[in-house]
């Protein structure tokens, strides 16, 4: 199967549906596994890495879930193709930089992906739309159980699954959810939330980069520790925190509607105007404006069919996706910004103007009352 066939379809987590889909973009579970008494990829010699690949790749490809899979050694992919996979969260940035011995196997739905010779010998991931951490774990757990029949995974009686980095030892599991939190950002409550989530030993990162100025109001929440708690306990704890964050986000949105409706409508209107008419747009600006439109869809200012259009734009406007249809030389940043703006303008033509009447502008009246 060709990569182009995989990437011509949006992944299930973009085009599909799931609980709390408005706020939880996706749920991901990743398990790290290694072969016993075999040097970890970062320490292994080239021949050892190739040997690991020969052992693991056929085992993964013979999983029933993977019967119609896309499998490729990373050396056979161009830098651009690897970057496309990174932007879809199908491989990690670290994996994309790996050479001989590294490979990726994924299913057509793009819900399961296996990275061979990443930091660990095998990292398997399930990604689902909305808040579905338990469902994602069930998928990846099944694959793991099946693989353990043929592969001798490194396991220690006390320490559990052994990993290259001691931060992953134990369950080898990283559970994370991507949250869209424009309400908490606009009402300036996001730092408070991030601090309290950090306090209970969970990590919050932006979509691109550490810190609070995450682009597109997207934040990833994940577990930081992997030893001393079972997979179920980690997932339950994370799930509970996410449910709280969803509640806070919903409250923040409601407060914005009640108290700052004019500003809210202004932002949505401007985002619609700029996206529909700009001729030059950086990916950061695009993500931030698309995030505001996404909020507009949640508030029913746009028809619900607009959701997929906007979610796809989040991915399609990222640098590598933008260039994937363009052959020849690498584009300059300027050319990319122009192409991005063109793509967005075309897509926005399908989107009717926001129906601002859905939200009554209470602000003016409120201010006179305050006086």
């Amino acid at each position: 199967m060709k990569l182009s066939r995989i990437i011509s379809n949006a992944g299930e987590w973009i085009s599909g549906d799931g609980p709390n889909r408005q706020i939880v973009v996706s749920s991901r579970i990743r398990l790290a596994r290694n072969l016993a008494r075999t040097p970890f990829p970062g320490w292994a010699k080239r021949a050892e890495r190739l040997h690991t690949l020969e052992l693991i790749r056929p085992a993964v490809e013979s999983l029933p879930e993977m019967h119609d899979a896309y499998a490729q050694n990373l050396t056979e992919l161009t830098a651009l193709e690897r970057q496309v996979l990174v932007e879809r969260h199908l491989i990690s940035r670290e994996h994309a930089a790996k050479g001989a011995g590294s490979a990726v196997v994924m299913n057509v739905e793009q819900t399961l992906s296996f990275m061979i010779n990443e930091e660990d010998h095998l990292r398997m991931q399930a990604i689902r739309c909305g808040l579905q951490l338990r469902e994602a774990y069930a998928m990846v757990d099944k694959c793991d159980t099946e693989l353990a029949r043929t592969l001798d995974f490194a396991f220690h009686e006390d320490l559990g699954y052994l990993t290259a980095c001691p931060t992953n030892v134990g369950t080898g599991m990283r559970a994370s959810a991507m949250l869209h939190l424009p309400g908490l950002v606009m009402s300036e409550q996001i730092n408070k939330i991030i601090n309290s989530v950090n306090k209970i030993g969970l990590a919050v990162r932006g979509l691109h980069g550490e810190g609070t100025e995450a682009m597109g109001n997207l934040f990833q929440v994940s577990n930081q520790t992997t030893l001393g708690e079972s997979e179920g306990q980690i997932i339950d704890r994370l799930n509970e925190v996410i449910v709280h964050i969803i509640e806070h986000e919903e409250n923040a949105r409601q407060t914005l509607i009640e108290r700052r409706a004019t500003i809210l409508l202004d932002q949505i209107g401007r985002a619609y105007g700029i996206l529909g008419h700009a001729h030059c747009m950086t990916s950061k600006e695009a993500l931030n404006l698309l995030s505001v439109l996404k909020l507009g869809v949640d508030l029913e200012l746009f028809p619900s069919s607009a959701r997929v259009t906007i979610d796809e734009l989040f991915i399609e406007t990222q640098p590598a996706h933008l260039q994937k249809g363009v052959h020849g030389q690498k584009m300059t940043a300027e050319a990319r910004d122009a192409l991005r703006a063109t793509l967005i303008r075309a897509k926005l033509k399908e989107l009717p103007e926001p129906d601002m009447a859905k939200i009554p502008a209470t602000e003016a009246q409120k201010e006179t009352n305050d006086e």
């Binding site: 320490w43 990690s92 940035r93 001691p166 030892v169 930081q224 030893l227």
Partner: protein
Amino acid sequence: MLCDVCGEKDATVFLTQIVEGKMQKVNLCEACSKAKGVNDPTGFALADLLLGLGAAQQIDKGPASLKCPVCGFTQADFKKTGRLGCSECYTTFAEGLVPMLSNMHKGTTHIGKAPGNRARTREINARVKSLQADLDTAVATEQYEKAADLRDQIRQLEAELTE
């Protein structure tokens, strides 16, 4: 203030994270913060970074000449990379690793999933441990009939283990 990684340049990036009520701080210069991927889209976690700093000091606890018999990894290599060489390294460097893991994680004992063949063994071991505790109580309180019954159960489980 100097950078915690290179110890040469002035630190300009200051990171703080609270894990389990413990505040962890790290100061980095511009170059090291880039090298460690502090602004990097995907992989950065402060835990990983702190590990590379604090952990390498901790692992020094074992004798310096320690070398993994399977992969030839040494403490100096761990200091450099913050990663281990192979699964056997966890046994080789156990003395330094366990205190480090207890700082990093919720506990030092894995209580989750185990690979198929190991799962039953772990289950039996846990069951034997709990039965043994009951047996001790039974003996102490002179409930000999109950004690004999518990002893039989333990023997049966242990027989299954040796099979």
